[in-house]
C-alpha cells in the first residue's frame, strides 16, 4: 500500500476527515457572517445557526458609524492603519539593514549579538510594560499614535532582522564580491546589490509585521486607551464588553476588524506562509 494506491474507501474517509476539519475551522466564520448579515429584528441568540431571511447591512453600518451611546469603529480602523503602516515600514527598513550587516558583514561577536537581538522577539511584553509606559510618559508620547508606532517599531526589529538575515543569506557571495571589486562600499553593496533583490523579502516582512501590528492588543490597550487614538482591536474589545451593543453589531465589528489581515492572507498567502515559517527560525 503505497502513496496514491489508497483504496477507494480510504480516499472517501480521507476526504471526510478533511471536510470535517474544514467545517470545524469555518464554523466561527459562519456565525460571524450569518449574524452580521441579519437584521436587528432577526437577531436571536437561540437561532444563531439559522440563515438570515433577508440580507441586511444594518449591523455593519452601526458597527462602523456607531449608534446611541457608542461611537463606531470607523476612526479606530483608521487609527490601526496610522499605526500599522509607519511601524511596518520603519521596522522593515531597520530589519533589512541589520539583516544585511549580520549576513554579509559578520564580525566577531555578531552571532552573539544576533542571539541577543532575537531574544527580544520572544520576551513576554509584560516584562517591559511598566518601564515602557513610564518612558513614553517622559517622552510625551504616552497615549499617542507615535508612541504606539515607536513601540511596534522597536519590538519588531528582532523578527524583521531574522527574516532579512535568512533571506540575504541566500544572495550569492560572488555578487557581493563582484560589486566590491567595482569599488562599492558597504552602502554601495546594499543599494546596488541587496535592495534590488529585496522585494520578496520586504513583502514577507511587511506582511508579517502588518498582520502582527494590526492584531496587537497588549501594546494598544496599555499605551493607546484614549478613545481618540484607540486601534480597532481595543475598540472592538470595548464594544464587545459594552452591554448596549447588540450581538450582531459585535459580530460585524469583528468581521471588519479581521478583514484587512484576512484579505492579506487570502491574496498574499504564499508570502504569509513564508513569514510564518521564518518565524520558526528555520526549524
Amino acid at each position: 500500500m503505497t502513496l496514491g494506491k489508497m483504496l477507494p474507501w480510504q480516499r472517501v474517509l480521507l476526504y471526510l476527515v478533511l471536510v470535517g476539519f474544514a467545517t470545524f475551522y469555518l464554523m466561527p466564520v459562519y456565525v460571524l457572517v450569518v449574524t452580521s448579515l441579519k437584521s436587528f429584528a432577526e437577531v436571536n441568540l437561540y437561532r444563531m445557526w439559522d440563515l438570515p431571511h433577508s440580507f441586511s447591512l444594518e449591523s455593519f453600518r452601526k458597527a462602523l458609524l456607531g449608534g446611541f451611546g457608542f461611537t463606531g469603529l470607523a476612526h479606530n480602523f483608521m487609527n490601526s492603519f496610522y499605526v500599522a503602516i509607519p511601524a511596518t515600514l520603519a521596522s522593515a527598513f531597520l530589519g533589512s539593514l541589520n539583516g544585511y550587516v549580520l549576513s554579509k558583514w559578520r564580525f566577531r561577536g555578531s552571532n552573539t549579538m544576533f542571539t541577543l537581538l532575537l531574544f527580544g522577539m520572544f520576551i513576554p511584553y509584560q516584562s517591559i510594560l511598566i518601564p515602557l509606559v513610564q518612558t513614553l510618559m517622559k517622552l510625551g508620547l504616552y497615549g499617542s499614535i507615535p508612541g504606539l508606532i515607536l513601540a511596534h517599531t522597536v519590538y519588531g526589529i528582532p523578527i524583521t532582522t531574522l527574516i532579512f538575515r535568512n533571506y540575504y543569506a541566500t544572495v550569492p557571495k560572488e555578487l557581493v564580491e563582484a560589486a566590491r571589486i567595482d569599488g562599492a562600499g558597504v552602502l554601495g553593496v546594499y543599494t546596488r546589490i541587496m535592495l534590488p533583490v529585496s522585494m520578496p523579502g520586504f513583502v514577507v516582512v511587511m506582511i508579517w509585521q502588518f498582520t502582527s501590528i494590526w492584531n496587537d492588543f497588549l501594546f494598544a490597550v496599555t499605551i493607546a486607551q484614549n478613545p481618540a487614538v484607540q486601534p480597532v482591536t481595543v475598540a472592538l474589545n470595548n464594544l464587545a464588553g459594552s452591554y448596549i451593543v447588540e450581538w450582531n453589531v459585535q459580530m460585524a465589528g469583528s468581521l471588519m476588524a479581521a478583514l484587512p489581515t484576512l484579505l492579506v492572507y487570502i491574496f498574499l498567502g504564499r508570502y504569509f506562509m513564508r513569514g510564518l515559517l521564518a518565524g520558526s527560525l528555520k526549524g
Binding site: 451611546g69 513614553l136 510618559m137 504616552y142 497615549g143 484614549n226 470595548n238 464588553g241 459594552s242 448596549i244
Partner: protein, 501 residues
Amino acid sequence: MRRAALLVFLGLLSWGLVGWAQPGKEYTVPADTTLGAVAQEVFGDSAYAPAIMRATNAKSLADPSFLKVNVLDMKIPAGAKLWIPERTWAEAFIAFWDPNRPEDLFGGGKLVVGSWWTAGGEAEGLNALFEIYGGYYPDVQIVNATIAGGAGFVFRAVIKPRLIAGDPPDTFQLHAGLEVEGYSPETYLTPLDKLFEIEGWTEVLPKDLLDLLLYKGHFWGVPVNIHRANVLWYDRAIFEEYGLTPPENWDEFFTICDKLKAKGVVPFVMGNAGGWEAAHLFETILVSTVGADGYKGLWTGETPWTSEGVTQALEILKKVLDYVNPDYAALSWDGAGEYLIAHKGAMMIMGDWTNGWFMAKGYEDYGWAPVPGTRGIFDALSDTFCLPKRAPNPINALGWLRVCGSKEGQIAFNRLKGSIPARTDLTPEEKALFNPYLQSCMEDFARDAIVPSVIHGAAAIESWVTDFKDAVNLFLATKNVAATQASLVEAAEAALAAMGQ
C-alpha cells in the same frame, strides 16, 4: 412612546432653563474706563476684573457686538458692551483661575468630559447635562470621552496613566468615597472646597454624603447623583402567579427559592461577566447580616472581619449560589435581567441603575424591595466629577462642575439616568418629576441609615476593593467559607495598614 414624551418634556425643561440661563447681565460702559473700575462698581472689588474679562470674551465669541478684551488692563471705550457674570460664577472664577494662565481669560476651547456612561439611560442623562452646559457656555465645544466596561473598572485603568502623563480630560467621573485615593488626589486633583463654599453645596447635600466626599480634609469631586445598591428586583408576573410576596429576610427568600425551583423557574438570577457583580451581591448580604453600623465598621476597623456576621453572609451567598442561573459566568447583570423580562427568572439583586435599564427595555412588570434584611438601610454610591490639576481647560471644567452641582442639572440628569439627585432640597413639585421607583428611593434616602458601597468605590481604597472582589470571585468556585473569611481578614489588615501610613 413614553421615552419620546420624556425627551420632549426634557427639551421643554431645558428650554425653560435657558430662559433664565446665561448667568449674568449685559453692561454698556457709560464712559471710558477699565475692567478694574467696572469690577469695583458691580462687585465692590476690582479683583473681579479677570472674571468680567473672561465672561465678556466668551460672550463675544457667540455675539460679536460684545467687546473683545485683549488685555486685562486695557482701556474700555465708552459704549462698549460687557457681560457681567453672576456673582457666584465670578467668585468661583477668581478662586480657581491661575494668573499664570492668561489663555483662560478668552473663553472658547473644549471641555473634555471623561466618564463610563455609555449605556441607555445614563448616556441620555449625560446628554441632558451637556445640553444645559451648552446653554450656559455656548462658546465651549463639548467632547464626550466615554469608555465603556465593567462599572468603570476599564475607565479607571485608562484615566490613571493619563493623569500621570499630564494628559487628563478636563473633568472626569469618579465615585464618591475612598476611590479617590487611587488617584493620589493631592498630586493630581484640585481641591474643590472653595467651590463647595461658594455654591453653598455643604448646605444642600446630606451629611453622610459630605463625610464620604471628604478625603484628607478636602472635597475632590462634585456629586451629581445617588444610586442605591441594595435593591431586590422581582418579576411581578411570576410573584403573582405563585402568590408570593417579596422576602423580608433570608429565610423567606430561600422559601420562595425552593418553591420556584420546584416549578422550573430560575429563582434568582445574576451575572458575573464583569467580574464585580457577585461581589456586589455579597456586599448587600454583608449589610444584612452585620447591620448598618457593623458594616460601616468593617471598613474602618471597628467591626472585625472575623465576626459571626461575615461568616453568616458567606453562608448565605453559598446557599444563594444553589439557586442561580447556570450561565451566570457568561452574563453581565443586564444579561441576567433578560431572565426577568422573559418571565423565566424571578429575582435579582443589583443597583438601581437596573430601573433605568428596565425602562429602556420597555419592561414594566417589575417590582422592587430592599435586599432581604436591609430594610431601613440605604447602601449608597454616588458619581462625582473632579477637576484634574493639569486639566487643559480648567475654567471650562469649572462651569461643568457648577452644572453638575446645580439643582436643574441634577434633576435633568437623574430623571434619565434613573438615579436620585444628590441634593436634598428638591420641592415636592420637583420630586414629582421622577418615576415611582425614584420617588420611593428619595423617601428612603431621606429616612434610612446610609452606608457606603464598597464595590462602587465609596467604602474602601481601591486595592482593598480589588482584594474583596477577588476573594468573592474565588469563593464562587471553592465555596469555602473559612478560607474566604480568612482572606477577607487578611485583605482588611493589609488595607488598614496601608491607610494608616
